[in-house]
């Protein structure tokens, strides 16, 4: 009941809700947030409207959302005062409190230079990867609910082009990003996967194709990128589960190990 009250206050009727339910795990705040410094980080009981409003101002959230978040902050502080939601508060304001395995987001591919057809091409790559990533033949095979909705990813991308900041704001473990450039008669796309938590680059690769052949159909290059990037994430996640739970692997860990061995 408290969550629905928060949703009413924060969303203002917008869909999807900025508080997402993650089945079996809890809730996730799905709007860009800043990482507070140690001095500024509030504890659960001291979250107040000022903290929330300065956060929104810094990131330039969309029209109406500042007021909504002020209301939400007030509602949240009231709930916290009643008690019983300290853990939820921690998860809400600590982006890494509930990082899910294989959660990932696509940072829109950048374009080098002023080249409108290339910009449309980059948009097409981003769009294709964004649609494909949560699909059953990509990460959706393992975790269908762990790729943020497209509109949420776009909102976060409007605030930053830094993969680490972007991934932290969206509370995902991996960020797929890239740059597209023209090089004479060739189009190049450099794609990479970053671990949001550490900023570590775990994979990067350059893809080239003839400009004439590729500009009209960005899905072709996107689907060259897709399996390589997905495997990089699978392999990293499998290595992580070996490191963190070598003797206590659950079903998903074991599936990841199997996939990592057969790629």
């Amino acid at each position: 009941m408290q969550i629905s009250a928060l949703r009413r206050a924060l969303d203002g009727g917008a869909e999807p809700s900025c508080i997402q339910t993650v089945p079996g795990r809890g809730y996730r705040f799905a709007l860009p947030v800043s990482v507070a410094t140690d001095e500024a980080a509030p504890d659960a009981a001291s979250v107040d409207a000022d903290f929330v409003s300065s956060d929104v101002a810094e990131h330039g959230a969309g029209p109406g959302s500042r007021r909504a978040l002020l209301w939400g902050g007030g509602a949240f502080a009231a709930v916290a005062a009643v008690g019983g939601v300290a853990r939820f508060a921690s998860a809400l304001w600590n982006p890494h409190a509930s990082l899910a395995r294989l959660s990932a987001a696509v940072l829109p591919f950048a374009v080098q230079g002023n080249d409108p057809p290339l910009a449309r091409f980059a948009d097409g790559i981003t769009e294709t990867l964004t649609l494909d990533l949560p699909s059953p033949w990509c990460l959706g095979y393992f975790s269908p609910s762990l790729v943020p909705p497209r509109n949420i990813m776009r909102a976060a991308a409007a605030t930053t082009s830094n993969p680490r900041v972007f991934g932290t704001a969206l509370n995902v473990r991996y960020v797929l990003s890239g740059v597209v450039r023209g090089n004479g008669s060739v189009v190049q796309a450099n794609a990479e996967v970053t671990v949001a938590e550490t900023g570590a680059l775990i994979w990067s690769k350059q893809y080239n194709d003839a400009r004439d052949a590729t500009l009209d159909d960005p899905t072709i290059m996107a689907r060259w990128i897709r399996p390589d990037a997905v495997f990089a994430m699978l392999a990293d996640e499998a290595a992580r589960s070996l490191r963190e739970r070598p003797r206590d692997m659950d079903e998903m860990d074991l599936m990841l190990q199997g996939k990592a061995w057969t790629q």
Binding site: M249, D250, E251, L254, M255, Q257, G258, K259, W261, T262
Partner: protein
């Protein structure tokens, strides 16, 4: 690169998944894939024959 050792490693992991959850469609399908890939690479039919792999897919 796929090779018999990697496929064998994957097979063991999928079998462990099925010990935890015998109805895991992901593991059943992946195990069948792996058995068929092992057979393709080594030229030896999977244990229990191709019908065994087919049964895994049916269960999945």
């Amino acid at each position: 690169m796929l090779n018999p050792e990697r496929l064998e490693g994957a097979r063991l992991f999928y079998e462990r998944v099925l010990e935890l959850n015998p109805r895991s469609a992901d593991a059943l399908g992946s195990l069948a894939d792996t058995l068929l890939a092992q057979s393709y690479i080594t030229g030896v039919p999977p244990p229990g024959g191709y019908r065994a792999a087919e049964r895994l897919i049916e269960r999945g």
